[in-house]
Amino acid sequence: MKKNINFNNFKIIEPNILLHIPTGKVFNVSKVVKELIIRCQKNVSKVNKKFLKNKENTEIGKIINSLYKLEIEGKKISGNITKEELRLRGISLLVSQRCNFKCVYCYAGGGTYGYKYNLDMKFDIAKKGIEFLLKNRNRTLKILRINFFGGEPLLNFSLIKNIVKYCKNIERNLNIRFKFSLTTNGSIFNQEIINFLKNYDFFIEISLDGPPEIHNLYRKTNEGKNTYELVKNNIYLLCKEGLNNRISLRATFNLGKYDLSKIISHLRCFNVRRVYVDKIGPFPGINIKLTPINKTLFKNTIDKIFNKLKNKKHLEVTLKSLPDNWINLVKMIHFRYLKNQFCSAGKSYLAVSSTGNIYPCHRFVGQNEWRLGSVDGGKIDLSKLSAFYFLVNGNIVCNKCWAKYYCGGGCPYINWVRNNDPCKPDSENCVFYRYLLERLIQLYSLISDDLKKEWNKRRGPLIVK
């Protein structure tokens, strides 16, 4: 009998790790398995003639048997067929398309997204945005999420207050709850704002690019002043008010230029709930191309972080020092959660501009070809969303990539900027993503069984909200 095994479904990671791509299963494997797969990937017919005959048939047979079992299992796993249909769980409201910062890498043109008028959202527009969310919501959900975005959203704090009040009034009649969050540059906080954020249980994301010598290079005020001290003091103020657990810090880093481990550890020092790192762009007008030197530096800095971790005795403790977006990947590896799409933009999440225009996500705001419609009338052009419904394994480029189920095809906006196509991944991004993922899988292979059991217990049953 013949067994069809697609050897491209297997990825060997040093020293002896095997990832079966369709199932997400990770193994420590013997040298024989490693050698067999590497040879098969090069040329399967040669393997038949030379390699297989030189080994004991039963032993090789057991290995092929195992690989075949995985392949059968992999075929049973598939995502649903998607179609363009909105079932929203949340929206971003760009309540102010003004900003008091002028960050070097800003994709939003200093917060305006190219808009010239009506940079502050009016209550009427915001109310229509909420109505649009309610009308197009996923009706199986009891919680809807509203993110206040900008520009700098706190420049229009009075509107935020009014929207929250409005949402609280209507949620009683609808048997749903709203959850609120705020993405801010961290420069505008006072006691009134802090009390308000506390009262309504906001989640707050603040941009902080690392220690002052790095943060101040990129994040300056409109007047060109440094912003690190201001933001740092505000984070301390929020923490003093007991909001640590409601804060995430996000660093945008210039790939390869600075020591990433220094940025990560600096952010971790604030002891807030989440820390994220993400590399700059490419964005329109900021088409940063990496030099070979920067690429090497990035790899070195990643290696440095992981080598440090590997040498630690208590891996579970040191794991926590990683950024949360990397920890999420470890969780995905452990629980075998595979993504066949990058994100929910254009599917369960949309962004509403200050004038009421609707876009697939906040990053697309101001790009005419991605304007889907308006909250006025609430009709949107679903045909424009087809690119957001593609599946990663239906993509010619991604389908060949071993990391596809962890990355999900990359950010559609970055893909579009780089390649004029939301479905065509940014190859530079792919290289670094794979490099990082490989290191994370190596790290995962060192985690003890006891710790994994502990994770499984704490994870509990799957929760459908």
Partner: protein, 63 residues
Amino acid sequence: MGSIPLKIRRFTMDVKHFKILNDNRDTQIMDEQPGCGKLDICIGLDFDDCPSVDICILIDFEL
């Protein structure tokens, strides 16, 4: 795609050659299919800069 002829009847993983590291639950595809509910397993920390991403993958416990 490779095709290897072998006379084997039973398909089991050989523990001598394969030690699984992430052996728990069934593999889940976390697609954002409207209404499929699978992505709802996460209890995202509301939105962050790229809200949709974290809603997809956050799992409700700290490592």
